[in-house]
Amino acid sequence: MIDIKNITKKFGKNISLNNVTTRFNGGDSIALMGANGAGKTTLIRMILGYYHANNGTITVNGLDPIKERVEILKHVSFVPQLPPPIKLSVDELLHFVQKSSCTSREMIYHYVNEMSLDIKEHLHKSFFSLSGGMKQKLLIGISAAKESSIYIYDEPTANLDPRARENFYKILKEQSNSSISLFVTHRIEEVKDLVNREIYMDLGEIISDVKL
């Protein structure tokens, strides 16, 4: 469970999150929507423990994301909007994932294969040198293989072709019903079959929270 109580986050004079209160329970699959600057990315970064709140509290499974980040992140999978330009080889990146979060390499291969990508052919290439779609498929495969209880996807289908999107949705449907899935998206139609809750944000506030 993710419990967000009266969270305010400011960057200088700019208020990115303004007294936000909400709760995500196991089984929730949420579409988090809103215009640019609405506070969606700030909210997920607060959950991941990247930002210190100016006010309010966040707990993830009862733990503080800043003080107990390692314990929380054992159960969190995250796919960013744009794959970062990591200069490690694919093999090294997978080694990092395996060692840091006890994820099975065979499971990563399995899920990346589900995304129609044979990553074994590219193990010695730099992650940075893969195409945008390949990078995103690999990150999705890693996130699925981690078998977390919380999945956070920030515009995960931005670099994917229609077939890869279908594969991604298929993987999501296989995930445990008791997990929390949080999709940051601008296009509700892309995730409408996957979510059971829609949250709209604007100017750092939640303006609508509808259970479907």
Binding site: R45, L48, G49, Y50, Y51, H52, R69, V70, E71, L73, K74, V76, F78, P80, L82, P83, P84, P85, I86, K87, L88, E92, H95, F96, V97, K99, S100, S101, L139
Partner: protein, 284 residues
């Protein structure tokens, strides 16, 4: 805390170091960095430095003296510009956001990066000296082992100091462009501005000579320079009257020990301050 937990923490620290080391070794800057130090030694041999004699120094001693004099200038700037972007660059490019979404503590990430980067910057410098010694032995030159080992210590100390300073800058600067600017300023300040300012103060006789010399010796580049000279010239005669202030305060042996210990401690202090800032600030 169980042994398994300690082992896991160590594993993650070493994992980050190992990956940073591998990434650095493949990078173009590391190639240039290694070529500069290795090439410098090769150039000295080609130029016949070992056969020349200046101020009584000849052979490998003469070569090491020249190597260390050039290293004083270029090692700090190389360390600063290649390291100062290690965290701020990862932050800029959103690598930090992704890598820290895995269960790695900030302590493991920061110190792991620092250890990996230290090995990267220190090995080419030492390797170039070893190259010189091996080539010298092949040529039948006498090896000045005491100077070699003391230079190894001094280079370790200088690398520690500037690595700590670089990580400190990297921890609070949001943009890697600004980090580079600050790194360049730190280098030029320690290399030249501080000396010019102190000479000016000394000429105006506004402060005591002891105070000015103490401030000068607080500069890790300056203490390295004087310690390097003291190995060849224990009485520091080339420095003139300043030598009396230094050697009256501490013996030559203690001065060399101080010149190794002080930059290491300085580097550790800056690295710790950097970690404190890194852990307390927003990460991305």
């Amino acid at each position: 805390m169980g042994l398994e937990s300690v082992g896991l923490k160590m594993n993650n620290l070493l994992l980050i170091s190992y990956l940073d080391l591998k990434e650095s070794i493949r990078s173009k800057w590391f190639l240039v960095y290694s070529l500069v130090f290795g090439g410098m030694i090769a150039l000295f041999f080609i130029a016949g430095i070992t056969e020349s004699q200046v101020m009584g120094f000849s052979g490998l001693s003469r070569l090491l003296l020249m190597y260390i004099q050039i290293t004083i200038v270029i090692l700090p700037i190389f360390i600063l510009i290649t390291t100062v972007r290690s965290i701020s660059g990862d932050r800029d490019s959103h690598i930090l956001e992704y890598m820290l979404s895995f269960p790695i503590s900030l302590k493991q990430y920061y110190w792991g990066k620092l250890i990996g980067r230290f090995i990267t910057v220190y090995i080419p410098v030492i390797f170039a000296m070893i190259l010189a010694i091996v080539y010298g032995v092949i040529k039948g030159a006498e090896v000045p082992w005491s100077i070699f080992f003391l230079y190894t210590g001094l280079l370790f100390a200088l690398s520690s100091a500037f690595l700590g300073i670089a990580f400190f800058i990297s921890s609070f600067v949001k943009s890697s462009e600004v980090a580079l600017g600050i790194a360049f300023f730190v280098w030029i300040f320690l290399l030249a501005f501080i000396d010019i300012a102190l000479i000016s103060l000394m000429m105006q006789e506004r402060f005591s000579e002891e105070l000015i010399i103490t401030i000068a010796m607080a500069n890790p580049m300056e203490i390295f320079r004087v310690a390097a000279i003291s190995l060849f010239d224990p009485e520091l005669t080339v420095m003139g009257p300043v030598a009396y202030y230094i050697l009256d305060s501490v013996s030559q042996a203690n001065f060399v020990l101080l010149s190794i210990a002080y930059p290491v401690v300085l580097g550790i202090i800056f690295a710790f301050l950097g970690y404190r800032i890194f852990a307390k600030k927003d990460l991305v």
